[in-house]
Every structure is written in C-alpha cells, then in structure tokens.
Assembly symmetry: C2
Homo-oligomer: 202 residues x 2
C-alpha cells in the first residue's frame, strides 16, 4: 500500500516533468494534455486520473519555481546589512528569471496557476504571499536601520517588486527589444544598477 502511493506519485512526477519539458522547450501552446500523455506513454484521459485538470498541473509546476526562489532568498539571509540584502534579493530575482523564464512566467504572469486557486476556492496565494513577505521584511529591516525615512514600507515594497518584475516582463515579452530600448547589451542589468543607486539615495 506504500508502494501504491509511491507509484501514484511517481506518475504524477512524470506528468510534471513532461509538462515542464514541453513548456520550457516549446511554450504553452505545445504544452497540451495530449502531448504530455504521449511523452509519458499514456492516453490523454489517464492524465486526468493523476491531476484534476491542466490548471492543477501548471499550479503544481509553479510551486517548484517558488521552492527554488525561496531557496535562493534563504541563502541571502546571511547578508547582515539589510540594504545590501535587499539589493542582493533583487539581483537573485533577476537571475532566477533569466535562468527559468518559463517557470517565472508561470509564477508571476500566467493565468493558469491562478485559475487553479479559484477552482480550489483558495482565497490566498500562499507562495506569492510568502515571497512578498520576505521582501517586506527586508524593507522593514532597512527602515529599522535608518533607510527610506518617511517612506511607506508596504507601498515601497510593492514598488520594488513592481520595478524588478516590470523589467523582467517587458524584457521577456520581447517588448524591450522591439521598442529598441537597447543599443546596449543588457538594458535590464543597467536599469537594475540605476535602481540600486536610487535605493542608496533614499
């Protein structure tokens, strides 16, 4: 009976891996239940024995992204200077988006995982909340250390998230290149440096 469960989880894992492979290599349009099924040697209907629907598959996938991002943020807790930690978090966030663009899209843009939250009647997005908490806490630490005087912590935290997220999505949607934002190698890198300098002056 333990083996049963093992096998079930095993195939769930296979589904997730196939979905991830299709998603990263060929995008959302090729990540179909039929393609997933074919990749693991099952019929399309079988996929629905292991997952409620496609939204749940994508939701489960996006959780893996948050696990990795959290891991990276956790490493940065060793950075004692809160302002330096905040800047390092931003860089880690950008780095993550470059290494896992598909996963990033699932975590912060795609409607699929959010759709699952509504299917499951979950009012909250725990992973997003936890990640924002990490940011908010670091901003709070900065304030305690005398930075950002007169600024509203919550609003400033959201602004910081927005700025970095905005760079990522403009870049990933192809808009920054198509709008000729760069005669420069990496506009995102340069803009983030500008952002760090802004934070220094607050």
């Amino acid at each position: 009976m333990a083996k049963r469960k093992k096998k079930l989880e095993d195939i769930q894992q296979q589904v997730l891996e196939a979905a991830m492979k299709l998603y990263t290599e060929h995008g959302i349009e090729k990540t179909s239940i039929r393609n997933i099924a074919e990749l693991i040697g099952y019929s399309p209907a079988s996929v629905y024995f292991y997952f409620k629907n496609k939204a749940e598959i994508m939701f489960t996938l996006h959780l893996k992204g948050f696990k990795e991002l959290k891991r990276r943020f956790d490493v940065l807790r060793s950075v004692k200077n809160p302002l330096e930690r905040l800047k390092a978090m931003g860089r880690a966030y950008l780095q993550f988006s470059v290494e896992y663009p598909a996963l990033y899209d699932l975590m912060f843009s795609s409607t699929y995982p959010m759709q699952h939250l509504e299917d499951a009647d979950e009012a909250m997005w725990r992973q997003g909340e936890a990640t924002f908490d990490a940011l908010r806490q670091t901003v709070t630490d900065c304030v305690a250390a005398g930075h950002f005087a007169g600024h509203h912590t919550e609003a400033l935290s959201f602004l910081i998230w927005s700025a970095v997220h905005g760079m990522v999505v403009l870049h990933q949607s192809g808009r920054s290149e198509k709008a000729q934002v760069e005669a420069y190698q990496d506009i995102v890198e340069m803009s983030y440096s500008e952002f760090e300098r802004m934070l220094d002056r607050l």
Copy 2:
C-alpha cells in the same frame, strides 16, 4: 470605387468593434473568430477576407490603444516643468491602464500583437518605440534641467517604464490581491506616490 473601399473599411471596423467588445467583456478566451463572425452576422471564413488572421485583428486593436495613450501624452506637453511632466505621464499611464485594462494587456502583455509583427516581418514595434521615445525625451529634458545627475538616461527611462508597468501587471494579474499586498485601499496609487518621491530625490 470609393464606395467599395468605404464598405470594406466599414466591415473591418465592425470586426474590430466586435472583437473589442468580446475582449473587454469576456476576455481573450471568448474572443474567437466564430464569436466575432456571429456578432457581425457573417460566416467565420469571411473574417479572413478582411483580416489575415487573428493576430492581425489583435494588432490593429492594440494600435487604437496606442492612439489614445499618445493623445493623453500629447496633452501633457503643455506641462513645462519636465519633472512634473514625467510624473504626470506616469499618472496618465496608470489611469489609462485602469480605464482600459483589456487594451492595456493587448498593448503591453499579450503575445498576439507581437506575433503579428513577426508574421509581417516587422523588426520594429513602432508604437512601442514612439511611446518609449516620449518617455525618454522627458527624462532627457529632466537631465537637461539638472535632475538625475549621474544617472544613465536610457537605463533610467527603462526603469521608470518597468516600475509603472510592473505595478499595472501585478495588479491586473490578480497577484497583488492574492498575495495580500493590500490591507490598503489602493496599493498601486500609494506605490506610485512613493515612486514620485523617489524621483524628487534623484
């Protein structure tokens, strides 16, 4: 022969209006060629007589958004103080995103219009470029007036775009609420105020 052209453009217009109506009222998933066709009393195949494909319809639609956004930016040219103009542009941008969320998505997030650019072998996204130009010019004016000393104009411009765009998409994707970013009425408004204060200190 002028009447011919008139009628052709007339039906193109009808297609666009139907598409816009479906998109704003029921989202992308209900904005199908079949639904558009039904709304204007034509067969689905007829739509392809007036537009190459769905990407072209969405592209044409997103142009209307840029026309309106440009109109709003043009009004702000009367604001002589460049820093004030920059801040007003940001507010106008946010205001636009609130009034036309569907159009905003088409302009800055959806892959459909960008897909058309690739279909049409257009290396450039003229509307995005023109809009970014307006922002870049205003930042340049700010620099000329002694602001943002030591900052890189291009990178700073991209950062400003990113910050405001990031607020909009986090808000519109439902992520900000689901991540409990607000026990506050309007986190976007508050964050933008923080942003203005940041600009003042540069």
